[in-house]
């Protein structure tokens, strides 16, 4: 027996040590990570006509090249330049230059041809822009950028989409009621991620790192939604797959400190010990919460009206409440909390923090009449934080409410079905 305990200690110690070691992850690329990983990452940068100072440029075919700056901490200068060109003098933007070798020059780059380029004149578009095309989308194949690394260049694949559109700016300037501007942007999304099998707490999982804020690094922590990089853990039956970089990560029902390498090539999971904890107190006995912040994206199961969480500031993003209905059906209400003041909560060590979610939900209707005698009614279901609420019955979207329309003397009183829209 003593020998068994000794072996177990050795195994546990080995497992803990493995988790605290850097566990290698391989780089993979496959077009859109949204399709491959189920997460969306995007950053938009403004394209300008002013050439970047001090950057050697290629000979452009078009008469109005555009330039955009991609902020990435993977290069010494903190940014890389991109340029857009037209293969015709005034045609659609269909050529892309990226400083793929991070040498600060675009003159040595081979242009990437758009795989899809659509352009159209906006209806009634002003001629003052000096060119015909002002609504355009051009998608380019993933561009391989080589960041400098200690042991040689490190690849990162970037998807680039160019979009231009007319934006109406509503502003009061004396003598001009409003104005419209041409917005030209590059939408950047990562086309690669890091993936590997990791051992945490003696169990193996598939771990993937994705660059949520598209700045080239994989270890960004943030209190803001969409800015913390993704850590996806597959194979943990206790939690959803998606988590984020932060102070903590939940794996196998335990808390760890995740330490992804900035270049995404490895990750360390260190057991979190002596974590300062506080309590969230709710009006509902049972619920599931998703909260995010610098502590990471955490999933909290509320039982008996309370749940403990590491102390810190969070933003409540979603909640779910289940209830039994007639004939044994399980009903679920889900709230999708809008990022605002009411979605922020702070868990204090050793203290209870009240959190107001749950019933009653409020249904509000609006009549936006379309024509004389014809009404278009819309209904909104909101929670106590003003968040949209969605209802499900046995996992499927619940039947929509009816609307009963009546007049004062009840000579008209009928119920109508509603539809999604």
């Amino acid at each position: 027996m003593v020998r068994h305990i000794a072996w177990m200690c050795v195994i546990l110690a080995a497992a803990a040590a493995q988790a605290q070691q850097a566990q290698r992850l391989q780089y993979r690329t496959d077009g859109q990570i949204e399709k491959s990983l189920g997460v969306y990452a995007e950053v938009r940068v403004r394209a300008e006509t002013s050439p970047p100072p001090g950057v050697a440029l290629p000979k452009f075919s078009g008469d109005r090249p555009l330039f955009a700056e991609w902020i990435t901490l993977r290069v010494p200068g903190g940014h890389l330049w991109l340029a857009l060109d037209q293969s015709g003098k005034q045609g659609a933007y269909d050529r892309l230059y990226v400083d793929t070798n991070a040498d600060g020059s675009l003159a040595d780059e081979i242009p990437v041809a758009a795989e899809q380029a659509e352009a159209a004149n906006a209806p009634g578009a002003p001629a003052s822009y000096g060119r015909k095309l002002n609504q355009q989308t051009a998608r380019f194949p993933a561009v391989k950028v080589l960041f400098p690394g200690r042991d040689g260049p490190i690849a990162y694949h970037l998807n680039v989409t160019f979009r231009s559109r007319i934006q109406r700016i509503i502003t009061w300037t004396r003598g001009v009621p409003d104005r419209e501007v041409l917005v030209e942007e590059l939408w950047l999304t990562p086309a690669g991620w890091h993936e590997g099998t990791v051992t945490v707490g003696g169990k193996t999982y598939t771990c993937r790192l994705a660059d949520a804020n598209v700045n080239g690094t994989f270890d960004d922590v943030s209190a803001d939604d969409g800015q913390a990089d993704f850590i996806l853990i597959d194979g943990d039956p206790m939690m959803p797959i998606i988590r984020t970089a932060g102070r903590y990560i939940q794996i196998g029902g335990a808390l760890y400190h995740p330490h992804p390498a900035s270049d995404g090539a490895s990750i360390v999971f260190a057991p979190a010990q002596n974590v300062p904890m506080g309590t969230l107190r709710l009006d509902v006995p049972q619920a599931q919460l998703t909260v995010g912040g610098e502590n990471g994206l955490l999933y909290l199961n509320v039982t008996e009206g309370k749940v403990s969480a590491p102390a810190g500031k969070y933003r409540l993003t979603t909640w779910k409440i289940e209830k039994a209905g007639d004939s044994g059906a399980t009903w679920q209400a889900e709230g999708s909390v809008v990022p605002n003041e009411s979605s922020i909560l702070e868990v204090r060590e050793g203290k209870e923090t009240p959190l107001t979610i749950g019933e009653p939900f409020v249904c509000k209707g609006l009549d936006s009449a379309q024509d004389r005698g014809t009404h278009s009614l819309s209904l909104r279901l909101r929670g106590r934080l003003g968040e949209p609420v969605y209802l499900y019955r046995d996992g499927r979207q619940a039947a929509l409410p009816q609307v009963r329309i009546a007049n004062a003397d009840k000579t008209y009183d009928q119920a109508f079905a509603t539809e999604y829209g």
């Binding site: 039994a324 009549d367 936006s368 024509d371 009404h375 929509l400």
Partner: protein, 170 residues
């Protein structure tokens, strides 16, 4: 969640709508009255409008003094703007036709009155942009054929916010 409903010809309103939910969750339903169309009364010839003290005319009824025809952005291909029989006539342009007031106007604590008539078309025929402090608002008439409203109240477009009205234009 949407429902399109037409008032029956033979039954009088006003009508009230009450959502009816099934399921175990407690939902506070707020019945809401369907909007009753307002009828705009045409101005009577010869009657000064608006009445009362303190009104400052922005249009003199004879010339375009104090106004300029907007040429910028989507107004670039505007229609003709002329004064015709005490009326300021804005003809249909390629996209929009507009005039802007060049006079000093208040930005708070004021009322503005406008009499507008749609001679052709079925789209919104009047967008009156007026200052509100450092910002602005716009009165839209005739959008979605018979609607009227104030743009961006509570961040909602003119046809969706609480100020939206269904007007029976004469």
């Amino acid at each position: 969640m949407l429902l399109s409903w037409r008032e029956p010809d033979d039954i009088k309103g006003p009508f009230t709508a009450t959502p009816v939910f099934a399921g175990p969750f407690k939902i506070e339903v707020q019945p809401f009255a369907l909007r009753v169309p307002l009828v705009l009364k045409p101005a009577e010839p010869g009657v000064p409008w608006p009445q009362g003290d303190g009104w400052q005319p922005l249009f003199d009824g004879k010339t375009l003094d104090g106004w300029r025809v907007v040429e910028e952005s989507s107004f670039a291909q505007h229609g003709a703007v002329r004064v015709d029989g005490n009326r300021l006539v804005l003809e249909t342009g390629r996209n929009r036709t507009g005039v802007a007031c060049l006079k000093e106007v208040p930005t708070t604590d004021y009322e503005i009155a406008l009499e507008a008539m749609r001679e052709t078309g079925a789209a919104d025929f009047c967008n009156l942009v007026f200052p509100v402090g450092e910002s602005h608002c716009a009165l839209t008439l005739g959008g979605y054929v018979n609607m009227a409203g104030l743009d961006q109240v509570d961040g909602q477009p003119f046809n969706e916010n609480e100020a939206a009205r269904n007007l029976a234009y004469q």
